[in-house]
């Protein structure tokens, strides 16, 4: 049986820079798509040589702002992937888009290009917060795009940022109510953090204090659970069967390749793990390093870490790898639940996940 592979395309260009974003991106007009596509294809071919025997389970166009790409380019890249590897039956092809008004047929064009899941970066559902977050779209444009996406696609997701400075819990609850009422299959809800190197950081914008932010997070989780969107990862909520196949591959530790500048990949070849930042720049990961990654990523999932799967990937026995004494304390204090084959975080544990991971070594 062929192992699954996920393919990530990084489109690093944006129309403008968002003040909270620390992702790798460039603000540039008149991108030479033809030569970029050539570069992407040669990278794909390189990886095909390396791991020919795989089945593609997902393709993801992220960025940057990949909705700025010509749908023809998207189509070409999808076709190329299919030429190189066999697709799995329920293959997921996601593209991240920003609400826009200047390209009326964009969404149907993307669908025709092969995209079957659209993730819409709305970020806020009121005018003043959209402005604060540096978004180039208005609320009206957002609504219009939401309508179109829901009409065109069967599988869709909305991105929102909350715990904005001065945001009140009641106001966020209203936005949540509204977000749920649209009928998206999936929601990605991120608490605003001020990362070094961002405009917000340089301006000295302060994140919401921990006490309020933790309350807001728990309210969000509880609200969405009641409304049919259980949390399946720290910031991701979905109707049953609509969890993102692509993103889960990161958290579960499946193989993925990253195409485009500064796109990372992880490949398990003949029981060795490799980290890629470019086809020609790779690093062999020790069992221990890969194990750390699996712990960091795996506990982010509601279902937690599958210990058998963990051993298959990194070669280490999970229970030996973890500080058992610490684990027992953390279980006793209600942060973690330890089952014979699974370790997962409780609601209380999710709030301090980074600290838990640090404690477990």
């Amino acid at each position: 049986m062929f192992k699954p592979l996920s393919v990530y395309f990084h489109w690093p260009y944006c129309k403008s820079k968002c003040p909270y974003c620390d992702f790798f991106k460039k603000v540039q007009k008149n991108v030479d798509e033809t030569s970029l596509v050539k570069e992407y294809i040669s990278e794909l071919e390189y990886y095909q040589n390396l791991v020919p025997q795989r089945k593609v389970q997902s393709i993801f166009f992220g960025g940057g702002t990949p909705s700025l790409m010509n749908p023809k380019t998207v189509e070409k890249l999808i076709e190329t992937v299919f030429c190189l590897w066999k697709p799995q039956e329920n293959l997921e092809i996601t593209l991240e888009a920003n609400p826009n008004s200047d390209r009326p047929h964009l969404f149907s064009d993307l669908k025709n290009a092969g995209v079957n899941r659209l993730s819409l970066g709305v970020q806020a559902l009121n005018e003043s917060d959209l402005k604060f977050l540096g978004r180039t779209h208005t609320l009206k444009e957002a609504y219009k795009s939401i309508d179109e996406v829901l009409k065109v696609f069967d599988n869709h997701s909305i991105d929102l940022i909350y715990s904005r400075p001065h945001q009140k819990l009641e106001d966020w609850e209203k936005e949540l109510q509204q977000a749920v009422s649209f009928g998206f299959k999936h929601l990605s809800l991120y608490q605003l953090t001020i990362e070094e190197g961002t405009v917000f950081f340089n301006k000295g914008v302060q994140a919401l204090e921990d006490e309020k932010a933790s309350k807001m997070y728990q309210t969000t989780v509880d609200f969405l659970r009641e409304h049919g969107y259980p949390r399946y990862e720290v910031s991701n909520f979905a109707m049953p069967v609509y969890e993102s196949i692509h993103n889960k591959c990161y958290w579960q530790g499946d193989d993925y390749i990253g195409i485009g500048e500064s796109a990372h990949g992880r490949l398990n070849i003949s029981e060795q793990n490799f980290a890629y930042v470019h086809p020609h720049i790779s690093e062999k990961l020790s069992s221990h390093e890969r194990a750390e990654e699996l712990l960091i990523m795996g506990l982010r999932l509601q279902k937690g870490i599958n210990k058998t799967h963990f051993k298959e990937i990194c070669g280490l026995d999970f229970d030996t790898f973890i500080d058992q004494e610490k684990l027992h304390t953390l279980v006793a204090e209600g942060f973690l639940i330890d089952k014979p084959n699974v370790l997962r975080a409780t609601d209380q544990g999710f709030l301090v996940l980074d600290k838990l991971v640090l404690e477990l070594f």
């Binding site: 991120y190 932010a213 720290v234 993103n247 993925y256 990654e293 709030l351 640090l358």
Partner: protein, 600 residues
């Protein structure tokens, strides 16, 4: 052999910052001791730390050749002395080697606390004192007023006072002439058996142990066999010489002169400061009076931040002790901070200087615990003990009496700050002994427990008087005290490195202060952590570090894994440098910050 009448041995004494070392520079320059090219500022302050802080720590000696107006060439032996109270021991040794003192008073400042202290030391050594008004080039100088102060407060005749400027060199020739004219020549018998005072000794990496001596009687010659009278040890002299201030070899030193000798002595600890040196085959009869041994008055523990640096710290302390016999240290083992040393110092400044030298000259990262003084305890079983380490505090029920060292503190301060100074002294359990006026300035004399002074008294005094107050103290014996040991508990566990001894009346406020600091210094944990200060079983202060409420990365996808792993590795490394107390991890920096003296 120099005629005794053509020798003048004198010390320069002054309050700190009154320009003594700069004035010495001008005298050296004028007598041609060093060429212009060789002159640096404050040449006698050889340690970096002395030049940087502008203070003299070690006394220095220099021989100058001065051709006086009477046509004779005189040998002047000048000893530059430290001004700070911590080093008054160092001053008293220098004074014992001289017959006269040049008292430098800043003409813009007037008489200060250490001016007085140093004058009393000089008078105690039967010195003739020559007053010098320095910094007369400054427009704010007022020589008339300062002369009156010297007459009123010190009772010195100022008719022969000299006015100088160390900066411009004005008045320095008159000063030299006045030294020859007004200070007495040494007495001694060149023909009598050798009798020399061991003033100081230090370790030189090229020459080995170097001894500074003052010859009282007889002659010291090369190749001579000498005996240290305190222990009978004998040595053969290798080199003899003087400082000009460069080292200059001589064939001999005779009665009245000051100079150095080397004699293949292995260790500085073989040289007892104040000892009498004589000739082995023709010994003198009586020993010179010598000095009282220096006493450590301030104690603290020093630990390496990185325990692998323990041996390096040990070596460094041993090296420092080679040239500074007043440092005392013994091994100490702390649960919180590992292996280190309990050290005794002459005072707070001395402690700070050693700390700084360990860090700068030996490149060590160290943690210093809160300073303490030495308490005298009488136990119910009749034995006595000296206690300066909280860790050694016996059960109070077995103690029948505790005494703490007291000082007589003299503070000079402009009238407008007097109120706050008196308040400070009272807060520090001071008892007023005297209050008089020196011109427009008040002179307050208090009896204060030394413990109150070592904490942060000097800093507070400086800050409440905008830097105008001057201060000196002398130890005046022990008095009964209500001493308690305050323990700091983190999550119910006592932390030995944070425990301290203090008077019962202060236990609560100082305990609270440390708890408050720790609250900000210990990172939040998954559970809440009580921080308490306790005397015996009684909690006197409490703070709580609340539990960590939120620590989770919002966005973590395929491109973030590497960065997250590296961050985790870094955090793990930081964690390994933490000290574990039960379930609580305390960063080492928290100890350093919590123990930092003075800032509030």
């Amino acid at each position: 052999m120099t005629d005794l009448n053509l020798i003048r041995n004198f010390a320069i004494i002054a309050h700190i910052d009154h320009g003594k070392s700069t004035l010495a520079d001008r005298m050296i320059e004028l007598c041609g001791g060093l060429s212009k090219r060789e002159m640096t500022e404050q040449v006698l302050d050889s340690m970096d730390i002395e030049k940087e802080r502008g203070i003299t720590i070690k006394a220095q000696t220099v021989r100058l050749e001065y051709k006086a107006n009477d046509g004779q060439t005189y040998q002047l032996n000048l000893m530059d002395t430290p001004g700070h109270v911590d080093f008054s021991y160092e001053v008293s040794r220098s004074l014992a080697a001289c017959e006269g003192s040049v008292l430098v008073v800043d003409a813009t400042q007037g008489v200060e606390a250490q001016t007085l202290a140093n004058v009393y030391l000089a008078l105690g050594n039967d010195h003739e004192i020559l007053p010098v008004l320095n910094k007369v080039d400054l427009p704010s100088s007022d020589t008339q007023k300062v002369k009156e102060q010297i007459e009123d407060v010190i009772g010195l005749d100022t008719s022969n006072a000299v006015e100088t400027s160390g900066k411009t060199g004005a008045g320095v020739p008159i000063l030299l002439e006045s030294i020859v004219k007004n200070l007495p020549a040494p007495r001694g018998n060149v023909d009598a058996p050798l009798k020399a005072l061991l003033i100081d000794s230090w370790y030189d990496s090229y020459l080995g142990v170097v001894i500074l001596v003052r010859i009282h009687d007889g002659v010291l010659k090369k190749k001579m066999n000498i005996t240290m009278m305190s222990n009978g040890a004998t040595y053969q002299i290798d080199r003899i010489g003087v400082f000009t201030p460069k080292m200059q070899d001589k064939e001999q030193l005779s009665a009245g002169e000051i100079g150095f000798l080397t004699a293949s002595i292995k260790s500085v600890s073989d040289c007892h400061i104040g000892d009498t040196i004589t000739e082995t085959k023709r010994p003198c009869e009586n020993m010179l009076e010598g000095f009282k041994p220096s006493v450590s008055v301030v104690f603290c523990s020093i630990f390496p931040v990185d325990s692998s640096q323990y041996d390096a710290l040990k070596d460094a302390l041993a090296k420092l002790k080679l040239n500074d016999a007043s440092i005392n240290y013994t091994n100490e083992n702390s649960e919180a901070l590992g292996l280190g040393f309990r050290c005794g110092f002459l005072g707070l400044l001395h402690m700070e200087i050693i700390e700084e030298r360990l860090q700068r000259e030996f490149d060590l990262d160290i943690i210093t615990t809160a300073p303490s003084v030495a308490y005298h305890l009488k136990l119910s079983n009749g034995t006595e003990m000296i206690l300066h380490n909280p860790a050694d505090m016996p059960d109070l029920s077995t103690v029948s009496e505790i005494k703490e060292p007291m000082v007589k503190a003299t503070i000079l301060v402009p009238d407008e700050y007097l109120g706050s100074v008196l308040k400070l002294c009272t807060e520090r359990r001071g008892v007023q002994l005297d209050l008089t006026y020196v011109g427009t300035r008040a002179m307050a004399v208090y009896k204060i427990p030394l413990n109150e002074i070592v904490f942060d008294f000097y800093d507070r005094l400086k800050s409440i008087s905008s830097g105008y107050a001057s201060f000196d103290y002398e130890l005046i014996g022990d008095e009964p005290s209500d001493l308690v040991k305050v323990q700091i508990l983190i999550n119910e566990e006592p932390v030995d490195a944070l425990a301290f001894l203090c008077h019962r009346s202060e236990a609560e406020s100082r305990g609270r202060q440390i708890c408050e600091r720790l609250k900000d210094l210990i990172p939040r944990h998954l559970f809440k952590i009580p921080i308490q200060a306790a005397i015996g079983g009684r909690i006197v202060a409490r703070e709580t570090i609340s539990a960590l409420r939120k620590d989770v990365t919002a966005k973590c996808y395929g491109g973030d894994v590497t960065r997250k792993r590296k961050l985790l590795d870094k955090q793990k490394e930081g964690k390994s440098r933490m000290r574990q107390f039960g379930k609580v991890e305390v960063p080492q920096s928290a100890f350093i910050e919590a123990l930092r003296i003075g800032d509030k």
